[in-house]
Amino acid sequence: MDFNGSDTIPGPRTEDHLPHTAQSAVKIVIVGGFGVGKTTMVGSVSEIRPLTTEETMTQAGIGVDDNYGSESKTATTVAMDFGRISITDKLVLYLFGTPGQERFWFLWNGLFEGALGAVVLVDTRRLEVSFDVMGRLEERGVPFVVAVNSFPDAPRYPIEELRTALDLAPEIPIMDCDVRRRASSKEVLMTLMRFLHSLALSGALT
């Protein structure tokens, strides 16, 4: 990587600069299986072109399954796409989409811990790929909503049947969405925010 020519380092477009008054940021994480539409959702509401950040993890820190017998540490790069929405001139919201293998997401320090909440995007063709991540969110007490991204060839289930299949607590919102549409992605985020607000009102957040 050549840093010598500073002109070659891409940065935000002038119109993408945050105002100097921007004091703090919050984040929401969008999780789901490969190809379920996380990056599409980020892109449909982001004010900037989605960007990608990476982190390097080693298998030694992961302690699971598919590397048995292997003594050597191998590094795994976990990439995350993200976008941004300016809320006020002081407050910025970042949306992180998490591709790749879900067991790595939870090694990313602070990714979920600090997030206001999470959106679990599910694809009814592969419902089970979201099971583990939902369990992990529950274990960590990260509030989430479930959004069913509608693919044309995907099986259609009544929402209440999906709620039962996903064993969702009755208060957890679940809705259909089309993440290619900004209005639909926005409604998913609004549903999450209303859910978080209701938790705050009921004092149920711990």
């Binding site: 100097h20 940021a25 080693t58 939902m134 009102l201």
Partner: protein
């Protein structure tokens, strides 16, 4: 056709997740990744500021002549506030490498870090309402 079924889990007291492994310390060669980018900013003790993906970084001054090219790049990018995640993306550096670099810049008072608002045990309703109003305008 019925969908596959899941079983709900309960909140747990989990041990804190292990820290990301990249160390700014020397040694620890990894032959598969010869370019250990985190060595670009070597703080002596390897200590790092508490930086989140969405901590906003703002330059306090222009790059001094002593700044490394990477530091100078950060200082130039952060004339307007920019999150650590955005810096990592623009500079094409892993997040942990970015935090090492920024820690150095905080220590030398070249940048200011504006901490994120994280989920609280007692949630800030006015914050949630502000986010809702902001989203509503999308």
């Amino acid at each position: 056709m019925t969908p596959p079924r899941r079983k709900r889990r309960q909140p747990q007291q989990l041990p804190p997740p292990p820290p990301p492994l990249p160390k700014p310390a020397d040694g620890e060669e990894n032959p598969r990744y010869p370019e250990r980018l985190y060595t670009i900013a070597g703080t002596a003790d390897g200590g790092r500021a508490e930086l989140d993906l969405v901590t906003l970084i703002v330059s306090r001054s222009g790059p001094p002549p002593s700044a490394s090219p990477e530091e100078a790049a950060v200082l130039r990018l952060c004339t307007a506030p920019l999150s650590v995640a955005e810096l990592s993306a623009y500079l094409n550096l892993p997040f942990s490498a970015m935090t090492v670099l920024i820690t150095e810049l905080i220590t030398t008072e070249l940048v200011q870090a504006r901490a994120p608002i994280v989920r609280q045990s007692v949630p800030d309703r006015s914050l949630l309402e502000a986010v809702m109003h902001g989203l509503q305008r999308l």
